[in-house]
Subunit: 389 residues, 4 copies
């Protein structure tokens, strides 16, 4: 089926990983996403800062024990020195380790794929951006939700003017996993994600950056200012678990970003609705193959991935005909696929417009988090936000 993208027919790239050892939530999905289209071979890792856990984790994955490290700096040096050393590394540690790990690999001449949010502070993020720029290496931020085929379809419809002038962007990410005091259990995820020193912030950093990146990617709008009201609604919680943010965009458009960890109902209810003078769009992460399009004066349409109405731009990201759901891993795989294409020097399909989040998106995301924290600390005062740095 000509329209479907084929996996690369080139030699797989040698991939390393930092973090993602036994007990990790996100290491497995990263590896699966990397494996999905056959573009990578996992060759080395510093899967844990505990060398024994790192080796054991590597053994689970069939990695040469000699290439299972307990320290990412050592790994960067050692891999750079090998002829068959890794070409690109995935960093899937808690947030505060992203920057030091990334810098070590960039300095060693190795491309970086990094989980989001970029860092634990804006200051760190800016320094990391400088390191990326200085290194000449590529940096990919895994904003996997923005990589769903139908998100790209939405982005293109907005970019080409199909919705007219954009007037409003409503984005939300309700989830309920923090509705109980999960940090009081032995849940490893809950532990670091609710520790201000490790996570930087709560839901605004964790899922807020996903929601913000989605809004920004689809709308293409510049944010002028925001007013954020963050709250910790479960007793004893040390980070925000509920965030409500008013958005004012350049040109006058308005929006709301709402994310929550206490919203019992949809497990990962990321959703965007965007309204222009000529139409509206709605997309939900839990039904990702469908994009609802409401053109002015016409009936609502359901544009289905890989079916009629899908642009070549989104079609490029489809692996299977319409009606066969693609999901979370396929979106995540799109990030890895486009990263491989970019590293190799172009997009697989020849279709223009490879889209991937870069260190600039990461800085923007950190700026968003810090602006929200600053606004909330000032009773939701308006904070000027200039995303052009």
């Amino acid at each position: 089926m000509g329209g479907y993208s084929n996996p690369a027919t080139q030699r797989p790239l040698r991939l390393g990983m930092v973090g993602g050892g036994r007990g990790s939530l996100i290491g497995g999905p990263h590896r699966l996403a990397a494996r999905l289209d056959g573009n990578y071979t996992l060759s080395a890792g510093a899967f844990s800062s505990n060398p024994e856990i790192s080796k054991a984790s590597g053994a689970d994955l069939g990695i040469d024990p000699a290439r299972c490290y307990g320290d990412f700096s050592e790994m960067a040096r050692a891999e750079a020195a090998r002829e068959d050393g890794i070409e690109v590394v995935s960093i899937v540690t808690p947030n505060h380790l992203h920057a030091p790990a990334a810098k070590a690999f960039l300095a060693a001449g190795i491309h970086v794929i990094c989980d989001k949010p970029l860092t634990a502070s804006l200051e760190e993020a800016i320094a990391l951006k400088q390191a990326v720029d200085a290194s000449g290496k590529m940096f990919f931020l895994t904003h996997n939700y923005s990589a769903y085929a139908m998100v790209r379809q939405a982005r293109q419809m907005v970019a080409t003017g199909e919705l007219g002038e954009i007037r409003s962007v409503q984005v939300e990410y309700p989830s309920g996993w923090m509705a109980e005091a999960v940090e009081k259990t032995s849940n490893k995820q809950a532990s670091w994600r609710t520790d201000p020193s490790q996570a930087g912030a709560g839901v605004i950093a964790d899922i807020g950056t996903h929601a913000w990146h989605l809004a920004r990617t689809v709308s293409g709008l510049e944010l002028d200012e925001l007013s954020a009201d963050l709250a910790s609604l479960v007793e004893g919680r040390r980070v925000d678990d509920h965030a409500q943010v008013l958005l004012r965009f350049a040109g006058g458009a308005r929006g709301i970003l709402w994310v929550s960890g206490i919203a019992l109902g949809p497990e990962n209810g990321l959703r965007i609705r965007i309204f222009g003078s000529l139409g509206g769009l709605e997309w939900s992460q839990m039904d990702p193959d469908a994009l609802l399009h409401s053109p002015l004066g016409k009936p609502r349409q359901i544009i289905q991935r890989a079916a009629a109405g899908t642009s070549p731009y989104a079609q490029r990201l489809s692996r299977i005909p319409a009606g066969h759901p693609e999901g979370y891993f396929e979106a995540f795989g799109n990030v890895y696929r486009d990263a491989a294409a970019a590293i190799r020097g172009g997009c697989t399909s020849g279709l223009a417009d490879p889209v991937f989040a870069t260190v600039d998106d990461g800085v923007d995301g950190m700026q968003f988090i810090e602006a929200c924290l600053a606004s909330s600390a000032s009773n939701a005062a308006w904070i000027n936000f200039n995303s052009k740095r």
Copy 2:
């Protein structure tokens, strides 16, 4: 079927109407709602301030021409003087006429059913409340959306603690009817609804009060303060067509109220989501027979009107077994039904807790509008909101 409510078996009440003549949008639905359960006979009206249009409109409805008035004051006096005069009047005029008309009928000893928002200003609303209190007559505000059976079900589930402590209330009412500059057409509705002098405000007054009343009715929470960002997103518009409001409730719960007239997609997408420590609820006006309940640690449930899980409290408002959709008119009819029951001195079913919006809800709604306007005029500053007056 014992569980279904029967229409009153008593003599219908004699009903009058102010407004609602030819070309009116809302007169017809009020009449249909009144007729639905056989509790009223429409007997008189001041259907228009133009006596000829009033008579012609009355003729369409089979009203005695002698009881078709061109002036509501005259109507109040004349009807009060008749032995068979109206017992209750429905006021369905533009907002700025609600107060003077209501006062005239209250003074004449006639109960009032009034469309929302209560008045065009808070000052007027407070004065009207005093008139109601002084009159000893009953006053019903037609918050029809809050009268859907499953909204009442939701309210009761919250009130009885089934959701635990309420942490967040998210309410929205997107619609798209103002996406174009409809006020530049000859649309009568658009004309008065976008004229600040007639409507008081834009969407925040029109649908914002519905959304706010819904949030208040279901959650039972007191609002502490709000921060509102109102906008006119269509060029040349003189009232707000998009409103975003942050809510802080007594006790710490947070919420957002978002209403829009430029949101192309759902035609009348009123929806509430409410989250407590023990569960979440979701209800959408466009699918009103279903209430989604997400109890902590259990699968999501769809409570269907008149089916398993519906409380007697909501069951009382069902007219037909589950799976046969009830809609807008049935909810509107619930307002008229409970009004008739209250006028007659009790609820039809003997089940406690007749729920209807009163003049207090109207004052609260006007206070909400004015607080939103004040906040927005001060760059979304927080406005203290004490709903206990």
Copy 3:
């Protein structure tokens, strides 16, 4: 709003009722439907064959006791003799009384609105048709489900060729009310609906005729032959509670009709899907304001009642703007509205194509039931079905 239909502006018709007394399931909805648009005044009734219950039921409804009869024959004679006698009667008894009651009123020169199925046997149905033809009076069968606005929209889209040549019609009506042995309780409905002598048959007669009428109305196809497999899946049940029917239409189209009383899930899941060479349609009774249209080679559309894409033909049946759900009673009211229009000599709106089920539809429905029973009795043998009688 010019597009919405207004209630008749003529004198209400005087309506009588046979059946529908205290404890009746369907009497209330018929009365509500009649009342909805103000076209009828309920003036007399034989609400029960027990004169006392009839009088008590009439008293509940405010009917003159002198016009509450214990016998429909007496009622027909008496009403015909009054100057202010009823002009039309609604027959809402168990099925086996439809024919004798209808004949009595037709003979008295009174129009008849009759619940479905038409009779308890095809023989009776044919005799009734002859009585209708001989009387010169009008006869309306209350196929309320076929009267939803968006069913009419679907019908028109098929009729005008928008779907191309029709290839398949899939209609189903799952419900679960008979999943338990309800006939062993004191449920009055369950009692007569599961008694072969009163109901004629089980689900095939009760909801099967609704499903069949819907398929026939929307598709416009002639049925050539059918193969039916009826079953009683609950122990001790005396009528069918599950029916599966293969359909072959003139011209080669195929279809399935499936109805069930033991299908736990959707409470009244009537649904039709129809497929042509140029597109497909899907409509569900539990979401009746939406019609899904899948044009060949284009994205799926959701045509919403009273919104873009609705034809004037369906618009005529809308009472309220899009996004405000209309439901069961509004559809039922459409039957009564079109009946009033036809009795008065034309459609209210001037739009062509008044649609109402007639005695011919009733005969067709009875023929369908009998063909299904005959086929099932012969191990689902094909039965020739010539709907042209």
Copy 4:
């Protein structure tokens, strides 16, 4: 997250492939499914009967050219002779080549994973079963749709009696890809799938076997007899494109299987509804993470993959927390995962009940196809179906 399954930590199995070269629809998904959990290394292939296309296809996939064959018999011999030869082969050719290819590998001592339907005739299928039994090797049929996590959940709920006695099974697979005369284009898929000599039959063989296997897997019922009406509804088509089948199960339960290639709407609308004395279940392939459960006398529940209510049995097949959609490839990957576990001598998780379709399911599927063809050829006569061979 302890509940999620980890990829195998053992050496990947060496996998070969027959078919699946350039232009193949199903080769890519098989490879992706095999790759998903890291259990296989694709090592050899006869990707096409044209040796040059086979080599070119293998080159695309990074396969050693020496192990790219133009003939599956040669491949079986050569691979069996190598020390590092393949351990298992995937057969993804058109249906008529399944049996000869499978026999070649079984004879060479190599396990077989085979696309469905098993063969092009029942006779062939029975012979193949004998070959499997004689070989002592394992045989897996890729009924990928039956491998979705929530299908397994449904199966277990039925098996443990949660639905009570099963009364009805309704399964359907509407799709629209054959609505036009696609065989007249140069579409390779359309060409062989509409050629009776290559495909054996039309939709009944292609998607009918999927639907049937799903019904059988979930319900656990034995089929007593069936009555099938197959049709070719597009002019000039040589195979069936629409099939309607009445089912009678041992014990009295009834069902319908409906599959179509001309049903414009849902692209791959495979869906099952199953009704028992204690509850109903509904599952749709296009929303595969949700299982609707309607327990008798309680509200409907939405059991979400990996969320509350999911059994360990289904949880075992989850790779990511609830609310992150898993889709087609993950289900397909479940087949490959369980195959790897079985080949290695057990299930990864230690949870009992590895489920995979075997050659027996394949014979059953072929018997189903042949029974449908025989019934249809006899005007939908009942055909006795004894699935115990």
